[in-house]
């Protein structure tokens, strides 16, 4: 991935609306050619504004955006080698599917015959062959989405921008479209940038994810890196479920960090090779926790806790554990057997344990 050249370079971009609102705050980012990139963040974090600046609908207050090495300052959206799929699809209601798909070619003066050929090709790419003469109102949401995709891909852009493309679809369809998008991206080889607030979506489709919060870039990493090694409390909490415990550094022992969990009065040893002092966060993913009746042996970090509540999800159950001092942990328990586990009853005491190397130390 690293030897590939960067197709989009965002350099110190800041966007202010009026004097009070800073939507994007000094963001620098490089997106490589052929990459499926996700901009992830809660609503209002500036991810859509960043995307719209790449598309040319907003101008950065400060900073520059380069697409394929060219400075895009002052370049209108119609002269940028990027195309966008809008959240509302923005399929032209008065045009047939074929007219919609061919619109971008028609306005730039491509010959009719070539348009027809490329429309057929693009529609078969998004599996809409046979829908050429339908009008958008005769299509389902998912199909309209495909029209929007075909319409953008037909232009053979250097980068395809997708603004929350799947948020209006129902859960089943969304999952199918996620797989479809990845397939499409691999087959056309175009760089995709997807903006989403759904961490599931980002994790499942993207090669690399940038997490944004309040206009700032918090972390840019691959899905696995982001999930297993978040660099801050925000990223850890935003991506997936996590047990976040406030703690204080008590020293270093055998090259490991000794931390005292707040309110617990117990010190645990966790491997950590960075700098850490004072108040930190200690985090552990629910699926890394183990439940057992007998006290676990070895190096595992363990707590004897009571089952406070449990929620059944079918494939797994979330078991909420707590102890007398107020420590709360959520355990992700895989329901491997077809019968309920007899020892998991609300009120029962059990050992919760995890391997020290699974502990995340969050300084930020």
């Amino acid at each position: 991935m690293t030897e590939k050249k960067s197709i989009i370079s965002i350099r110190n971009v800041t966007k202010r609306f009026g004097s009070a609102v800073t939507a994007v705050d000094n963001v620098s980012l490089d997106i490589q050619e052929g990459e499926f990139f996700a901009l992830l963040g809660p609503s209002g974090c500036g991810k859509t504004t960043l995307l719209r600046m790449v598309a040319g609908f907003e101008n950065p207050t400060k900073g520059r955006i380069f697409i394929d090495g060219q400075d895009m300052s002052g370049v209108d959206p119609n002269h940028r080698p990027v195309n966008m799929v809008f959240q509302s699809y923005a399929v032209f209601p008065h045009m047939t599917v074929a007219k919609n798909a061919g619109y971008g070619l028609k306005v730039t003066g491509v010959a009719r015959k070539e348009i027809d050929e490329r429309v057929t090709e693009a529609l078969s790419l998004v599996k809409l062959s046979g829908f050429e003469s339908r009008f958008p109102h005769q299509l389902s949401g998912g199909q309209q989405q495909r029209v929007a995709l075909a319409r953008a891909l037909i232009k053979k852009p250097k980068v395809l921008l997708l603004d929350e493309p799947l948020s209006a679809l129902d859960a089943k369809l969304r999952e199918a479209m996620q797989i479809e998008l990845v397939r499409l991206q691999k087959s056309v080889g175009i760089t995709f940038i997807i903006v989403t607030h759904s961490q599931d979506e980002a994790l499942s489709v993207a090669d690399r994810i940038a997490v944004m919060q309040a206009g700032k870039l918090r972390q840019t990493a691959s899905p696995i890196e982001l999930y297993e090694n978040p660099n801050s409390r925000f990223c850890a909490d935003f991506i997936g479920k996590i047990n976040l415990l406030e703690a204080e550094v008590a020293g270093v022992e055998d090259g490991k960090l000794l931390v005292e969990i707040k309110g617990e009065g117990r010190k645990i040893k966790v491997p950590y090779d960075g700098e850490a002092q004072g108040k930190i966060g200690v985090a552990i993913r629910p699926e890394k926790l183990r439940l057992s009746k007998a006290e676990p042996e070895g190096e595992a970090i363990k707590f004897l806790m009571k089952i406070a509540n449990m929620v059944y999800y079918g494939n797994a159950s979330h078991i909420y554990m707590e102890d007398a001092r107020g420590l709360c942990l959520t355990v992700d328990f895989q329901n491997e057997a077809r019968t309920a586990e007899p020892s998991i009853i609300i009120g029962n005491e059990m050992w919760v344990s995890w391997q020290p190397e699974d502990t995340l130390v969050l300084v930020e």
Binding site: A55, G56, F57, D76, P77, N78, V82, N83, M84, F86, Q87, S88, A90, F92, P93, H94, Y103, G104, V107, T108, F135, P136, H137, Q138, A148, R151, A152, K155
Partner: protein
């Protein structure tokens, strides 16, 4: 169907003598007798005078009181009445020109008002809609004073200008309500796909506006065609429009000729309205757009 079956269930067979009465749900007003009667009365009240007017245009009598027999002669007479015919042509000219101009300006105004933000927009917005609310008679007097102040002699020109002035806001309101549901992402998407501003307007924005433009134009046309008050103040000698001509004829006596002229006006407006509705419903079916 369901109403019937539930009525059968609620009426046990033991009460045989009782008249079976259909029960309606509380909101089924249209099925209630008193409501149906009210609607009928309404229709009679609204349409009987018009139907009577049309019927008596075929009456073979100088008076509009007794039915004497069927004839077309008053239509022929109206046709050969030179001043009436001239007034009719004048009305068409004024309505035609003012509709075209006010639709153009009103459409631009409506689009600008829902599209752009500019200084003092709210004030401008309120001020532009004044002609809708201020009494027509005041508009008429003001217009007349304005033209005489500028030494413009009253005639077809002044009528047309006044008609344009008072129909623009109506067109703007219609266009605005059409554009209220417009997704601006459509325009952005058009720009994104390589279209310039003009192409975006021509291929995306304008087609969306069309039903609003048609409705606005029709409104402007009917407003202009039958306007009396403003026209009365801004017309000069020799520039009579049909409503004013009909009024002056009625002052002498209500002859079937007046009925005939009015009937022609009604039929023309009806044809216009029905045609527009057909066009619009076809267009809507095609676009999947919302009817206005």
């Amino acid at each position: 169907m369901t109403g019937q079956s539930s009525a059968q269930i609620s009426n046990p067979p033991s009460i045989k003598g009782r008249r079976r009465k259909k029960r309606h749900t509380p909101l089924e007003y249209t099925k209630k007798r008193w409501f149906q009667f009210l609607m009928l009365a309404n229709f009679i009240f609204l349409y009987f005078p018009i139907i009577a007017l049309m019927a008596f245009s075929f009456n073979d009598s100088r008076r509009n009181i007794m039915w004497k027999g069927f004839t077309f002669k008053y239509y022929i007479k109206a046709y050969y009445n030179e001043s009436l015919f001239e007034a009719f042509i004048n009305s068409l000219i004024v309505a035609g020109i003012s509709t075209v101009v006010s639709t153009l300006l009103g459409a631009m105004l409506g689009l600008a008002l829902c599209r752009f933000r500019f200084p003092a927009k709210n004030a401008f917005d309120g001020w532009i809609h004044l002609p809708i609310i201020i009494p027509e008679i005041c508009m008429g007097v003001a217009m007349m004073a304005f033209f005489s102040r500028l030494n413009i002699s009253l005639g077809l020109f002044t009528i047309t200008v006044s008609h344009i002035a008072f129909t623009i806001p109506f067109v703007a309101v219609v266009i605005r309500s059409r554009m209220a549901g417009y997704d601006y992402a459509l325009e952005e998407s058009s720009r994104d796909l390589g279209a310039n501003q003009l192409q975006t307007f021509m291929y995306v924005t304008f087609p969306y506006m069309v039903p609003g433009i048609v409705a606005g134009a029709l409104l402007a046309l009917t407003l202009s065609l039958d306007d009396f008050v403003i026209t009365f103040f801004t017309s000069g000698p020799g520039s009579t429009t049909l409503p004013i001509k009909i009024f002056s004829m009625v002052r002498f006596s209500v002859t079937p000729e007046v009925n005939a002229a009015s009937t022609v006006l009604i039929v023309m407006t009806l044809i216009l309205a029905v045609t527009t509705m057909i066009i619009m419903s076809r267009k809507n079916r095609k676009n999947g757009g919302i009817a206005i």
